[in-house]
Each structure stands twice: as C-alpha cells, then as structure tokens.
C-alpha cells in the first residue's frame, strides 16, 4: 500500500537551532516529491520539487534532499517566522498525489 510518513509530528526549536524534518515513502512508480509550507488557517504554499535521488533544492534557510526512500527538509539557523506545518507529497506515475500528515514546526526566540 502506498504510504507517506512524516516525522516528527511536532518539533520545537530555539531560534538558530538547526534540524531536519523527515518524509519517508513507500510508493510504486515515484514521479516526484514535493514540499509545501502551511501556516495556521491557510492553504499550503509550494516550496520545492525533487525528481531523482541525490537531488537537492535550496531556498533561504531551507534545503530539501531526496533519496530512494525518503526526503529531508533541513532547516539551518531557523527564525520564528519559519514556524509552520511542513507537508510532504509524493506523486506517482499514475498522476496520483499522496500527502503526508505534516510536521508542525515551532521556532522560539
């Protein structure tokens, strides 16, 4: 069965304390993996697309990486404004998109 699992469910960091969020997946026929950011009471906002193992994408303090079984979202020296829920989604070659349940990140000053 296709599955996308994100861990941890919640993460509390001190400002400047770097960490990583994990997205592990078991799907047949992976076409791509995506990261979204969702602020409370808002719709998700697209961050990154990763298509092949070894690929990396960066945006400000965020860097996304992909292996054959998981993706990491690395947050370097986070700031309070990075607080949000980060969603991972996997796209199958059947055009089916499967979302994880997200990691809720809180960054404290």
């Amino acid at each position: 069965e296709d599955q996308v699992t994100q861990s941890p469910e919640a993460l509390r960091l001190q400002e400047g304390e770097s960490s990583s969020l994990n997205c592990s997946y078991t799907v047949s026929g992976l076409r791509g993996l995506f990261w979204y950011r969702q602020d409370p009471g808002k719709g998700p906002e697209f961050l990154f697309t990763l298509y092949s193992a070894g690929e990396e994408k960066e945006k400000e303090r965020l860097k996304a990486t992909l292996t054959k079984k998981e993706s990491f979202l690395h947050i370097t020296a986070p700031k309070p404004e990075d607080s949000a829920t980060y969603l991972c989604a996997v796209l199958k070659n059947t055009d089916k998109l499967i979302f994880g349940t997200g990691t809720r990140l809180q960054v404290f000053p």
């Binding site: 009471g41 808002k42 697209f46 969603l87 989604a89 998109l97 979302f99 994880g100 349940t101």
Partner: protein, 110 residues
C-alpha cells in the same frame, strides 16, 4: 498574476443542512481545479478535480458533489451535511506537480 479566491473562511452548519463553497481563479484560463479536504491527523485528501467546464472527476465516494459552471469557477456542494463532513476544505489550481491553494474554508458541522 494568478490569484485564487475561496469563501467563506469559516462556516458552522447544522447536520442535514445544505452546503455551497465557492472558489474562483483569476489571471489564467482553463485551469485544472481541485477540491481537497484536510482533516485533523490526516493528509490532504483529493475530493474532486476538473480539467474543464462541466468536467468533474470524483476521487472518493461521499456526501459531496462538485460543479464547474464557468471556466474559472469551482463549487463544492452537499444537499445534507453529515457530522463527518467537518474539516478544512481547500480549493487549488495547477497541476499535480505544482498546486496553488486558496486560503481554505473551516467547516464545522454540529
């Protein structure tokens, strides 16, 4: 630039009442449109998608229906709401490889 509007932001409805949520997109023509539901502790679930006027595909059998009366308008409806219909409803446009979401409607069925 493209923008997506979704309303209302919050809605409290009694069980058995009807529902109509509306979504409109500006700045693009013939967009693919989607309705998602986000329930607590669950990933975003695709409910409906549309590739054109009058063309609706349903992903999950349920108490809801969707319509696309105009190119950039997508409506989610129900004749009689159930408690289990509560959740955060999101409209989106784009493709599976990049979705642009509206701000969502928090629906509480009591």
């Amino acid at each position: 630039s493209q923008t997506i509007h979704q309303w209302p932001a919050t809605l409290v409805q009694p069980v058995g009442s009807p529902l109509s949520l509306e979504c409109t997109v500006e700045g693009t023509s013939n967009p693919n449109l989607y309705w998602y539901r986000q329930a607590a502790g669950r990933g975003l679930q695709l409910l409906f998608y549309s590739v054109g006027i009058g063309q609706i595909s349903s992903e999950v059998p349920q108490n809801l229906s969707a319509s696309r009366p105009q190119d950039r308008q997508f409506i989610l409806s129900s004749k009689k709401l159930l408690l289990s219909d509560s959740g955060f409803y999101l409209c989106a446009w784009g493709t599976s490889e990049k979705l642009f979401f509206g701000s969502g409607t928090q629906l509480s069925v009591l």
